[in-house]
Symmetry: C2
Amino acid sequence: MQTPEIIANRVAQVRDTLRSLELDAFIVPHDDEHLGEYIPADAERLAWLTGFNGSAGVAVVLTNRAALFVDGRYTVQARLQAPGEIFEYHHLVETPHVAWLADQLERGARVGFDPRLHSLNGYREAKALLADRGIELVPVAQNPIDQHWDDRPAPSKTPAILYGEELAGESSTAKRERIAADLRKRGLDAALLTQVESINWLLNLRGRDVERLPVVLGFAILYANGTLDFFVDTDKLECFAFTQHVGNDVSLHPIDKLGEVLSRLGEDRLRVLADPATSNAWSQLTLEEAGATLVAGQDPTLRLKACKNEVELAGMHNAHQRDAVAVVRFLAWLDRLVQSGDFDGVDEGTLADRLEAFRKESDLYVEPSFDTISALGPNAAMCHYRHTNGVPRPFGLDGIYLVDSGGQYLDGTTDITRTLCVGEVTEEQKALFTRVMQGHIALDQARFPRGTAGIQLDVLARLPLWQAGFNYDHGTGHGVGHFLSVHEGPQRIGPKGNLEPLQPGMVLSNEPGYYREDGFGIRCENLVVVTECEEPSEVPMLRFERLTHVPFDTRLIDRSLLSPDEFRWINEYHAEVRRRLSPLLEGDDLAWLEQATELL
Amino acid sequence: MQTPEIIANRVAQVRDTLRSLELDAFIVPHDDEHLGEYIPADAERLAWLTGFNGSAGVAVVLTNRAALFVDGRYTVQARLQAPGEIFEYHHLVETPHVAWLADQLERGARVGFDPRLHSLNGYREAKALLADRGIELVPVAQNPIDQHWDDRPAPSKTPAILYGEELAGESSTAKRERIAADLRKRGLDAALLTQVESINWLLNLRGRDVERLPVVLGFAILYANGTLDFFVDTDKLECFAFTQHVGNDVSLHPIDKLGEVLSRLGEDRLRVLADPATSNAWSQLTLEEAGATLVAGQDPTLRLKACKNEVELAGMHNAHQRDAVAVVRFLAWLDRLVQSGDFDGVDEGTLADRLEAFRKESDLYVEPSFDTISALGPNAAMCHYRHTNGVPRPFGLDGIYLVDSGGQYLDGTTDITRTLCVGEVTEEQKALFTRVMQGHIALDQARFPRGTAGIQLDVLARLPLWQAGFNYDHGTGHGVGHFLSVHEGPQRIGPKGNLEPLQPGMVLSNEPGYYREDGFGIRCENLVVVTECEEPSEVPMLRFERLTHVPFDTRLIDRSLLSPDEFRWINEYHAEVRRRLSPLLEGDDLAWLEQATELL
């Protein structure tokens, strides 16, 4: 926690730089150069400046005022962490920061930004909006925060992990050739890769540069002949072993050589594929100014990475089996805790720690795949609740406990939510839990033709709630990486604009929920893999295969609402869970599993 | 039917003009200046040139060859009608005509087109694609076909209908003011309106200029102060009565003055809203070249027109009640025909005529809302079958008859499909009919939050088929106008890209189907209105209210597949049909209704 005095001093330092650069404002986003969801500690510029350490937001410093913009998840946390006497607060969606800036400044004003921390699309939109008001958007060569951040953490030096073909299922050379062939077909000379998951997947690398995301940070340029320039802290790689691992066609460069190579691509007049939505403005402007032709398009690794091969899927299945054992042991322990009645010192934090302790018993476990959401009673009504942002709620006050957690294992990534009966629950809560389960079951059972997008299936998970007048305000399913980000695209199941067809091998979550503000929260989440149907059909059909095998809490089910099909699904699922996990459990845990998977 | 000699002569005449204009090719689309679905006889240039009279397609005439491009609906008809020795045939989707042209021509070639018959978007895409190959796209001042079309039908002179507020529910002045207020809010000076349905709705006009579409043809410019310039064949309007009808703020102009006014808007440097997807290139290029700023956006009448007001909805309900009586009398007659066993002279054509005869008994009936699809046995497997394109199939050979038809009534537009048992049917056919009905019922029963788009609901109508490995290759629901086009946007229920939220007052069809090539076809279609739910709910919910009340053929249902909810739906629907129609029927028809709506 930073004191208001420290924050005030930092803001003053940034203002000094603004004055020297003749700027009237400066924009500080949460993002780093890779524009991904997770960033390393040395990129937490927004937290340094404001004290606010949430995972999304943007600050704007003017000469005489400053503002912090966050979305609905973080309105409470922002007020707790960023001093109100220095920062005014705005809702990022209701009051977008660029529009707000345009209203604050006079014609002729100059707004500074770091072009490495904004997407090209974001930059262009901001530039157009400000230009309409006669305001100039000025790229800075060096970020003012970097100039003043004295106690900045050193960047990670953890060695990269050469991720073997026995885990990745395909050599980097083969992956590069598949994409290079596509570049050639499209008449492109190269592709700029800036998303770290993409590069780690393509080079069969992993690392520990970022918490929750097992990657080594870097940039890459893939050429149409299959060669690749990799920009990375070369200290993290043993050169000879790396070359053996990825092949001779990959050249290593220090990260600060990226600009030079981009300029050379421009001088050679290359046609370069880059994604203006996910790649930073600086890299694309550098290419363009040097003479390259930018061809806007999706990161070419995304779809290939999303469709897991058989080795990756085997790893995901194995990781999920291990994870299921840990979760079941936690659930058995939790029920014993409830029965004991002794809740002394137990709270959301100790519960999360206990769950991780079970996961840590696996040799292949690396870290959580995201910060565990361990939420009792009303806290579960906040979809992205983090007990570490305040005082963890003590156990014993509530009927319902929601725990959403996952693990990064060397062979796969997991993500599971269970909603549990830990006290008295009302009939209404049971009815709502049952409707959430009915949505989960309907989506799980769907068969759908090739070409179907997640937006088309989303309603299946919502309809039981809709029919009763309820809904939930988040997507139903996100993509999941293979020992990579627990959130990956392009696949998604949700009510909004993503029309990407679901394809065999894509991993997705199935997680409908229901949230009663200040009351309780319900979410039922398994991971599934898109698979071809074996059953004969007139048109080629796909379906979901389950990765997650952990009992749902049948004590929360209102049986009167279930159809025979839904009874059958629950019983078959629980029989499958028992079949898979019984051999891996013993004693009280095995007894718990048998009781938790009894026929409904 | 045109002889090949006549067609050859016409193509030669067009080639003469090409030579005189130094063009290497000329593009002839089916579209007219309004780019809508239905066009008047004097705009059937494609049919004049090729003999093909389908509702979609495009021909390309080169100096030494010619080609006709049609979609899957019309591959058979195109070969029957357009002489193969003159036109080669291509599939419009698999071999788009512009790409094909680019492959045929040398660099430096010149391709002529009539900019009034192509959207601005279509023009820009074609221009870019051809420019990539060094080919020029050249607008012609006069369409070569118009120069040679000697026996061209005279344009309609039928007087316009002043459509009273007792039918329209809102004055033209009020409608114009609603849109003008929006233009002012968006900083726009005017909107170019080229879709005839939009203009007829906005001015509370109807006409008989086009078959199946009760409109008077014209163009309009609406200004931000609510005034409007209407470009129309002024012979069709009695000036004094018209001004009384629409108010003093509407100025009448002959259609050929449009270019002059567009140029004046340009000289005045106005910001003009125009829809580049639905408005022709000529009008927007004229504006732009004269100095106007084009602001691309959806036709501003679309959403307002789509959300019917209470008077329009009352008209729709009344029209549907009248239509239901006609359809039920036809269905009763059909069952008596089947029982009689005397099918002499009965075929798809006489059935369609008989159905229309029942509709014609209503004073308010104007014409069919589209060409009736009267399809026996295998013909029903073609979704857009027209018995008038070949020899109508005789009655008595098949188990299943599909009839998709509708009426334009002065107070509303109808569209209904029933699939009927008229002979022996197989268990498989019954199972498939039942699955189509299950989809129809699931969509009909859905409740959904405000903001939901049709693409999200589409799966409800398909899932019962998907779960058995089947699908259908068309959308599930199209928008329907109010005594206007039976196909209107922006609302739609389908698997592809339309994300327009469904709003109260929008009318849509609910028409899942199943098609077995060379076998049979099934479709179950009602029209519904989007309505607010009265039931209490946590978030504002919408649902569908049914407009169509005609029995479904329960002889085709496999009861073993139905859930209790589906039984209940069918029985409640039939009880409602009986309640509404019994008082309007008598004798054998009433007896038929009672038997057709018996409890399942």
